[in-house]
Every structure is written in C-alpha cells, then in structure tokens.
C-alpha cells in the first residue's frame, strides 16, 4: 500500500495512509500517515463506532491539507479496550515452537507437491 501511495505522490496526487502497522509504513517512507495503535484490521476506527470512524477520517483529511513535508505521522488518540493482542499476535514461545515448525514443514511439503504437478 505504501508503494502505491508513493507512486501517486510522484505523479502529483496528494495521499494519506491510514493504518495500524507503524513500522512497516514508516520503514517504507510515505508522505502522510495516520497511525492508530489498534490490532491489525480496523485502520479507520473500531467496528460499529461511527463516531470514532468519522473523527479518524477527519484527522486524515486535515493531514492532507496541513502536512507541509513528507514522513508526517499523526497518531490518533484512541486506545484498544485491552493490551492482550500486543503479545498474542504471531506469538512464538516454548508452548508453540514445535507446532509452528511442524506447520512450516507441512506447508513446504504441499508447496513442493504443487510445484511438481
């Protein structure tokens, strides 16, 4: 998505990215970015919370108009209702290390079969 935004900027269109993966967007480098510190899935506000969504879109619109240089990131003021997802997402530890290794092995076997056929 950041690569598409960069292409639009290079060709004279103003853009703003809305997202929850701060490091991926900022590592790439984009003109404007509205970051919400939520689990991945709802970059424009919590589901069924029209008020939060409206305010988040408003922040993006204002950033379009007001940013004067690239790499401008704004963080929205919203917090998720818990912090458990931060540790839980794609977790790797002693409890699942073996299972993950087996999953990877299985997937490579399937991919190898698909390649052969």
């Amino acid at each position: 998505m950041s690569l598409v935004a960069r292409h639009l900027e290079e060709n004279g269109l103003a853009t703003v990215i809305m997202g929850c993966a701060r490091d991926i967007v900022e590592e790439c480098g984009v003109a404007r970015f509205v970051f919400t510190d939520f689990p991945l899935g709802n970059p424009s506000g919590k589901p069924w919370d029209a008020g939060m969504q409206y305010a988040t879109v408003g922040i993006a619109l204002d950033l379009l108009e007001r940013a004067w240089m690239p790499r401008t990131t704004i963080q929205t003021p919203y917090q998720w209702h818990n912090d458990e997802w931060r540790e839980a997402f794609m977790k790797v530890d002693a409890t699942n290390r073996e299972a993950l290794a087996r999953e990877g092995e299985k997937r490579r076997e399937i991919q190898a079969k698909v390649k052969k056929s």
């Binding site: 998505m1 598409v4 960069r6 490091d23 590592e27 899935g41 379009l64 790499r71 290794a101």
Partner: protein, 167 residues
C-alpha cells in the same frame, strides 16, 4: 505520565513476522522496502473543493457458488461507491483475526464516513468509485502494475487526493 515501560508500546510487525516465519523454518526473511527519498505533493486546492477517493487492500466478496469460489483470485479493481459495499473479503489477509473482526466495512474502508464529509461540504465530493489493491509478496508487481493502474483510475475519476487504508 501514565506508566513507565521498558519496551516500545506499538508492535513491530517486521520483527514479529520475521520471528514467526523463522520458527516455521523459513530461514530467508522477507525484505521490506525502505526509501530515503519520499515523494510529496501538497494539496493544490482547499479540501472543500477536492474530490477524495479511497483505496483498500481488501478484496471483492468471494462468490457464494463453491466452484466459482475455488476460482477466486485476488485482483486489482475499481467498484462503484454507491451503493456502499456491505462486506469485503479479508480472510486471506494478514490481520488480527483473534482480537477483532471486519464485519463493519467502515472500520477499514470508510465509504459512508467519507460520504458524510462530502454531504457536509467539508470536502468537495467523494469519488464515485473505490479501488482495491491486493497485498502482493512481489514488490515489482505493486510498483509496475498496481501503482499505474490505480493512478489511471484516480485520474479518470478526477481525484485531487487519496486515502489508502492498509488492513
């Protein structure tokens, strides 16, 4: 101050996904794009005169027919924003399926919210279409194919500004 923390608060998905796939036995990590030069276009008109569009990484709804569903492939697309979509396909994407859900389209593609800003005159208008880009492992495909196609559609629809939402 609310708290003292010995770590940064926001999740690093670059670190997290690299460790996760390494644990699955993939020893060559995905390499993410990084640029030093960042292109920048200032908004050329007041917002109240601008036409604004939305780009999503989600896909069109998967066909209900099982045979058609098997054939379903993610493609780049442009779709009418009116009537607004009531669901989009997200099952194949990288997001936190345990912590949240994507049943409310406006939580990741705010077509209705953007239309409200247009109705109030805060922006000139919302684009008659929204646009979809598959998240692709291949960076060259995104740069050479998807970027130019989205630009073409944005120009056809007379857009002044674009909001891109990464799920």
């Amino acid at each position: 101050m609310d708290q003292l923390r010995p770590y940064r608060s926001f999740v690093s998905y670059i670190d997290r996904s690299r460790e996760y796939y390494a644990a699955q036995g993939y020893d060559k990590p995905y390499t993410w794009p990084h640029y030093d030069y960042i292109p920048f276009t200032p908004l050329r008109k007041p917002l109240s005169e601008c036409r604004v569009g939305l780009v999503t990484t989600t896909g069109l709804p998967k066909p209900v027919d099982p045979m058609q569903a098997i054939m379903y492939r993610r493609e780049i697309y442009a779709q009418p924003a009116i009537p607004p979509p009531t669901s989009l396909y997200t099952d194949d994407l990288f997001w936190d399926k345990k912590a949240t859900h994507t049943k409310d389209v406006d939580s990741f593609l705010p077509v209705n919210r953007l239309a409200e800003y247009a109705q109030k005159g805060y922006i000139g208008s919302a684009s008659p279409r929204f646009y979809g880009v598959p998240t692709d492992y291949s960076q060259p495909r995104t740069i050479e194919r998807y970027g130019p196609q989205i630009l073409k559609w944005c120009r056809e629809d007379g857009l002044d500004a674009v909001i891109l939402l990464a799920l």
